[in-house]
């Protein structure tokens, strides 16, 4: 079992969701996040004064999957989120020790799907 965490551009969320759906990955958790990577930030302007925005608005996706789904999920996220420009985001893949479904008490492979 793996936990896939992806940081993507907020405006790419819809196309990522579409691609995940095509790859039959239906379970997803999404949160807003702030951060910066290579893009380092950008400037806005308010009443003639420049504002350096170095924490950019990003969207964080979390998906827990069985081994067979790891590569399809990663591919789907890349297809949906990639533009080729700096700021497209990053995918982190972590080993996942256990999953427990609160309602039924199921664990592991049963709980994840």
């Amino acid at each position: 079992m793996r936990l896939i965490i992806a940081y993507i551009q907020p405006h790419m969320l819809n196309s990522v969701k579409e691609e995940l759906y095509k790859a039959e990955v239906y379970k997803i958790s999404v949160t807003n996040s702030l951060g910066c990577g290579q893009q380092k930030g950008y400037t806005e302007s308010y009443r003639g004064v420049d504002i350096e925005v170095n924490l950019l608005k990003k969207t964080r996706i979390e998906i827990a999957v069985n081994e067979a789904f790891v590569q399809p999920t990663i591919d789907a996220i890349i297809t949906g989120a990639r533009t080729g420009e700096i700021g497209d985001g990053k995918i982190l893949v972590l080993p996942l020790e256990n999953v427990v479904r609160i309602r039924s008490g199921e664990t592991g492979h049963q709980a994840i799907g």
Partner: protein
């Protein structure tokens, strides 16, 4: 059913005609005319007063839109209370000092508590109190996000009771400036500059908001503190523009004045070119057309035309407006980046600088059509009128700066001017009023 209504209406109209005719036969024609004139004046001035009153809502929206969410409720309270406290103060003292019997052209001396008023005086008081409150509320924006509420209440009473009425007396009640021929139709100087110069002094004594000017080594870095709601600021500007038709066109002071439309037209054109001027200025200087600057531009055009609205042509109004629009952007830059006086909404630039410009513009663009005695430099009237306008601007500036320095200086000395640092960071909504304006919304901010 419809036909029945028609018959009834016709019957009523006939009855009305008969009654008017009978009344007319009793009274002379002149009496009837004057009665109707009185009615028109009454309706027009009270309607205009209500329009100007609505500008309070405009100021409240502009100021809260251009400041942070954590201080929005405090700004509402300031706008509510400078009118409420101001109205009582203007009833008790302000009106008397402004419109009472003059002591050598400097100050009014009777009619305190509008003593002995009858309906036309009530009408005039109603029209004037909303102007006094407009001057008072201008200050709120410049002093936003850091002023103690109690101190602001004291200020509100002082400006509507003393500062505004006395300089107003010089100009609008046949005082010494009026004697010289100073012309300020609806109050570029009388109302707007008075508020703005008090705002300048207030913002100066207060100091900047935390994090606005950051000292890095020997350099002062200017930071932006973005307002939290641009649509609200825009709504405020539209409300102000709407109310301005009462402000300027109402200042004809008569519902039978054929120049009401002329005033409305010059007001519209100056506001429009003010917005356009500010938009292009910000576009050229900052790279993009800045929304809040363009909104300031519309207001600056309105402030600019207020003095000359009755004596300039539509073309004159266009030029006054566009210059106001450019001037307001330049002035915001100057106040912020050079003088380092923190004015979150640009009140000093909009109402002070453009108020002074509009007042001087009378001496340049007055065309002598509506008032043959007021002719500006560009229409062959020479520099006399311009000189008088300049004197008026300077005299009012000196008066307001002197009085408000005493006022804000004393408030500062007794610690009633500025909230403490922790309260400023938490927001004045919590600190001054113990509540949140957007309860239920989670707003993250480290500003």
């Amino acid at each position: 059913m419809k036909r029945w209504m028609k018959y009834l209406t016709a019957l009523l109209l006939m009855g009305l005609c008969a009654v008017t005719q009978a009344a007319a036969e009793e009274a002379t024609l002149a009496e009837v005319v004057s009665r109707f004139e009185l009615a028109f004046d009454m309706l027009w001035l009270v309607l205009a007063a209500v329009l100007v009153f609505f500008m309070q809502a405009g100021f409240a929206m502009v100021e809260s839109g251009l400041s942070r969410a954590k201080n929005a409720g405090n700004i509402m309270m300031k706008n509510l209370m400078d009118f409420s406290a101001g109205a009582v103060a203007f009833w008790a003292i302000g009106w008397g000092l402004m419109y009472g019997a003059s002591i050598s052209g400097f100050i009014g001396s009777d009619q305190l508590f509008i003593h002995g008023a009858e309906s036309t005086l009530y009408r005039d008081w109603m029209f004037q109190v909303v102007f006094a409150a407009t001057a008072a509320t201008i200050v709120s924006g410049a002093m936003a996000e850091r002023t103690k509420f109690g101190g602001y209440l004291i200020y509100s009473v002082c400006i509507t009771a003393i500062i505004y009425p006395i300089s107003g007396h010089w100009i609008w009640n046949g005082g010494w400036l009026a004697e010289l021929g100073f012309h300020d139709f609806a109050g570029s100087t009388v109302v707007h500059s008075v508020g703005a110069w008090a705002a300048l002094v207030g913002a100066f004594f207060l100091g900047a908001r935390k994090g606005k000017y950051v000292q890095i080594g020997k350099k002062t870095v200017v930071r932006a503190i973005p307002g939290h709601n641009m649509p609200l600021a825009a709504l405020g500007v539209f409300i102000l523009w709407f109310g301005w038709y009462g402000f300027n066109a109402g200042s004809t002071l008569s519902g039978t004045d054929p120049d009401i439309a002329h005033v409305a037209v010059t007001t519209t054109l100056a506001a429009a070119t003010g917005a356009i001027g500010a938009m292009f200025s910000s576009w050229k200087w900052f790279g993009k057309p800045d929304p809040s600057m363009s909104l300031n531009g519309a207001l600056s055009g309105l402030v600019g035309i207020t003095a000359g609205t009755w004596v300039v042509s539509p073309v004159g109004a266009l030029i006054i407006g566009v210059v106001s629009g450019v001037l307001v952007v330049a002035s915001v830059e100057l106040v912020d980046k050079v003088l380092h006086i923190d004015d979150p909404v640009g009140a000093v630039s909009v109402h002070g600088v453009c108020g002074a410009w509009g007042t001087l513009a009378v001496g340049l663009f007055a065309d002598g059509v509506n008032d043959a005695s007021i002719v500006g430099l560009f229409y062959g009237g020479g520099a006399t009128q311009l000189g008088i306008q300049l004197l008026g601007v300077a005299a009012v500036f000196a008066w307001v700066v002197l009085l408000s320095s005493i006022l804000f200086g004393s408030l500062k000395a007794i610690g009633m001017l500025r909230v403490n640092g922790k309260e400023e960071l938490m927001g004045l909504d919590i600190g001054e009023h113990g509540m949140e304006s957007y309860s239920g919304f989670q707003i993250f901010s480290n500003m």
